[in-house]
Point group: C2
Chain length 337, copies 2
């Protein structure tokens, strides 16, 4: 079967409009490498179906002012949520990341029942949901939970398939650190196409999300970013030196700083990423300089990535939002209203 070039172009136009606010036909023509008349036809069709709204004119820049178009935020919504040990946090958003509704659902019985009961009302609702994205603190392979210390009841479950069956909607399942690093890179445009690492120390041990040139690294066995196991000392791993740190952001002890400096050095001498992100639930700004100094003991400073502190919950939700919106925009069918 041949691929449908029109569908790919349509998806590209949607993403440019909804995700990057490209609003004129000229601009769309440039970024998609497709001619003006072709874009115009697509947009006209999208206006008829209610997917695109015609705004006024753009401020002119020396010539005839361009008409401005925008992606209709009401056309599709997207349900994003993440599952923790005892609660599920969710946000219903539009395709421009705006929150329509949000909340928390406590888990009383099984994780799966709680998830089902949270999702059902959204499906019955007349609101048009295009896709669901789910974050889990577990290793995920093709939508299947392969290792889940935080909620053993979900282990080995094909969560993606289960949720698709229950809702009839496209579903994407992602690991928490992978979602966070993806979300961070999309929130901060300077890092979008770079290689970055996002470290979370977590309640059940540390983990890292790794982005390579903007693509999430999953690894051969879903083990990528399991930095606990790094042999950084004669008789101790990274985890050994970090496991006694009290939960929450605080000023770190000297040996914790050294362990983190070695961790950064390890990435600098292998992947050599542009940025290394720590989480605001783990440490505070003043720790960064100390970590940087610790890292300088191991390699020249110009190879050390930029050290930053990310906003964990926002980055996590951003990654899920992005994944959900992309899936929504990719799965709208030709002719859908």
């Amino acid at each position: 079967m041949l691929k449908d070039p029109q569908h790919e172009l349509l998806v590209d136009i949607r993403k440019q409009m909804a995700l990057y606010s490209v609003s004129t036909i000229s601009e769309l023509s440039k970024v998609t490498h497709v001619s003006f008349p072709t874009i115009k036809k697509m947009i006209d069709d999208m206006i008829v179906r209610g997917e695109v709204i015609e705004h006024g004119q753009k401020a002119p820049e020396g010539g005839r002012p361009a008409k401005s178009y925008g992606y209709n935020p009401e056309f599709r919504h997207c349900l994003t949520l993440y599952i923790e040990a005892r609660e599920i946090r969710y946000r219903l958003i539009d395709c421009q990341h705006q929150i329509v509704e949000d909340g928390v659902s406590l888990i009383t019985d099984s994780h799966l029942e709680a998830l089902g009961e949270l999702v059902d009302p959204f499906i019955e609702d007349k609101t048009k949901i295009g896709a669901i994205s789910v974050g889990v603190a577990a290793a995920v392979d093709m939508g299947r939970i392969v290792f889940a210390p935080e909620y053993p009841s979900l282990a080995h479950l094909d969560l993606k398939h289960w949720l698709m069956e229950r809702t009839g909607l496209p579903v994407v399942i992602e690991n928490d650190m992978n979602a966070a690093v993806y979300g961070f890179s999309k929130r901060d445009e300077t890092t979008t196409h770079q290689s970055i690492v996002y470290l979370g120390l977590g309640k059940n041990g540390p983990g890292a999300g790794i982005l390579f040139d903007g693509h999430v690294a999953r690894g051969q066995s879903g083990f990528s970013g399991e930095v606990s196991f790094l042999p950084l000392y004669d008789d101790a791993s990274f985890y050994d030196r970090i496991k006694d740190k009290p939960y929450g952001p605080n000023v770190l002890k000297k040996e914790e700083i050294d362990a983190l400096g070695r961790l950064v050095a390890t990435f600098a001498a292998t992947l050599n990423p542009h940025a290394f992100i720590f989480s605001d639930v783990d440490l505070v700004q003043e720790d960064l300089l100390r970590i940087n100094r610790a890292c300088e003991r191991y390699l020249p400073s110009r190879h050390i990535p930029v050290l930053r502190i990310g906003q964990w919950e926002e980055d996590y939700f951003s990654g899920l939002a992005r994944l959900g919106i992309e899936l929504t925009l990719e799965t709208i069918q030709r002719g859908d209203v």
Copy 2:
């Protein structure tokens, strides 16, 4: 300016024919996702220009046998070479990796002069060379040598630009480990789209080439794969534990095995690659099992990459060949004969 879809299709057809031996129009139509008649027109044109040769018929598989076409190995050649401390090894190849001519050129004076004198005769020759690929034991950024312990005279030189000026041909410059890992992945089809690491212990210290989902990792500052600096012990780096190893393949000492086991563990717990390749100039087959056992001390064995021994010179040349051929096929202009 719009991109030229016809040119991209043409390049795709060339690569499928020359690099993957796709020989019938039906197959080309499938792999390129372009219709049969369109491919047919392109092929007819390529035959007229001498770029493609019509062979006989393919063995039929139940229906009308397909005509078989092949990329003309005489249409363009490609010069590949790598620069070492005291010599330059070169191979003139066709677009199907076949060696047309090879040799070694000793460096008496400066590296640059030797390179120029080696290249010049090939340019004057009537043989049609499509591109030149050059391997160096140095950090390369956009064709510029940024760090070169092995040949200081080339440091900070824009070698790509220099060679393009001198020859008027497209040129690609690549780091030795990057070329080797790329070459290995193309020679071994099972690893082509995987993540793999290729380690060379080298004369001037170790270095690794890293492939992520088939793409070479270059890093933020060209420092990727500089594993010398890895802090693997309380007071010692990877380099400290490996630097006294005698040059050449031999059975390793216990502490060298441990250092390599830790190195493999470091990659397994970060990138989690499919395979980890050692070089046949550094160690022998029986070392691999020992390294694997050493690695098992640090993490569960199912996450350890497959350990293998590569053929250094062949892998290096293969990577350069591949880069050169790709560049050749990409830069043939419409209408060239």
